[in-house]
Amino acid sequence: MRTYLVISAIGHLAVIGWASFSFPSAKPFEVEPIKALPVEFISATDLTRLKAGERKPAKPVPEAVVKKAEADKPGEDDSKKASKQVASLPPPPPPKPEPAKAAAPAPAPPRPQKSASEDAAEPKPEPVPAKEAKKDEASKAEKDQPVKDVPVPTIRPRHSPAPAAKAEEKKEEKFDPSRIAALLDKAPNQAAPAARSEETAAHSSAGDPRGLDDRMSISELDALRMQVSRCWSPPVGVRGASDLAVRLRLALNADGTLSRPPEVLTTGSGLAFLAAADSARRAVLRCQPYELPSDKYEAWRDINMNFDPRQMLGG
């Protein structure tokens, strides 16, 4: 029996030795880093704006995904491709470079421009304000994309402070779930910061030295609009009141008061128009100072605002 015991012990030792040498250690799992899938939330104000946009007459809205920072990041070929794919999903608009935005990295939360919401507020979009001639690139971009105020859930890399790609969709196909799914599919590859084509009417953001968070959110714009509309008595009863949309340019001080008298941007003639313009100007003058977030002064220092009686009258 002892011999068998010795044989068995030797065999076990051999097996243990072989096992401990031939399985030195488990191979560690190669876990791919989990890619974040950033999601943008659309606030209620976005939704109202979206609905307001639908009322507009069907207009061809070129939708552009502007790829940006390509020159900045030449290495990111995949991501470029990815954003190109995203761009080519909807009816293909040529991607336009948007150099005006390059200086100011866009913040993550959806922050459409002021004039975008203004456009939404009025049923009749007037895409070319006069002042935009001041800024070459900005106005060029604006002309190319006259109406682009239908926000769509977009995906952008969470970690990049740079402007992210955004696909803007047409009005008629405003919320196509399958398309959004396609966009989401592309999302993990879309690591590179790509520019989102946005309205550049706002004077604030272009080349602003303060960097990050200088644009106003929709809710803040709504707040401003509400403060103004409290004081505004629209020209009710005038014939053709619905056509008397007035666009004002407000120059504000940091404390919320007007630094200059408001400037009427809309050109019109006739007593009715003058009355409407006056009422709008009065409203703006009467309601100052406005309560606005002071840390975003750059954003609302110079602001355009629509006074549209049809909106006010529920038309």
Partner: protein, 239 residues
Amino acid sequence: MPSNAGDLAQVALSAPIGDFSFLALFLQAHFVVKLVMAGLTLASVWCWSIIFEKLLVLRRADRQTDRFEQTFWSGQSLEELYQSLVHKPTSSMAALFVAAMREWKRSHEGGARPLASLQMRIEKVMDVTITREMDRLERRLLFLATVGSTAPFIGLFGTVWGIMTSFQAIAASKNTNLAVVAPGIAEALFATALGLLAAIPAVIFYNKFSHQLARLGSRLEGFADEFSAILSRQIDERG
């Protein structure tokens, strides 16, 4: 969120990765788990020594029984066969034959008349011999059965103990990251692996041996019946 993910990555990187060799698994384990592992290893060693022994013994027993039956039925004189085997019976069946013959010869050496009770005595002697021989062959087989049925539970006990302590470690480190949990569970599962490793061969060979022994036992019984029939004919002829 990103900072959180960074923390997790940090923890995952700092956690010990990789050393899952047998020795490391054994050394990292809790004392109770170590005890279980050592006990299971010893049980396995003992099991395999029993297995080796039984394999050889039973094969030899089969072969020698075959040979004995061949010579027994070859027409050789029983007396000669008895003389050749009496000092060193080669197999269980030979031992059975020798015991019966010895009883027979003792009854005849005195010149007494063979009695009917001789038949009974011879059968008794053969029964006793069968029991003794089977006992000898079945020795230590019970250990295989015991290990086969209890080793998985012992291993499971070690695993439960190890997981228990590793969960306590998780609670202490306040981190549910898998990298913290995994090494403890791996070393705990090693105990179950050892238990199964000891139990599986034990069960397999126990079944094989018990089947072989049952066949050998029935062969011995058959031979005892036949031999007692032969002897009883002899008794009647002489009587």
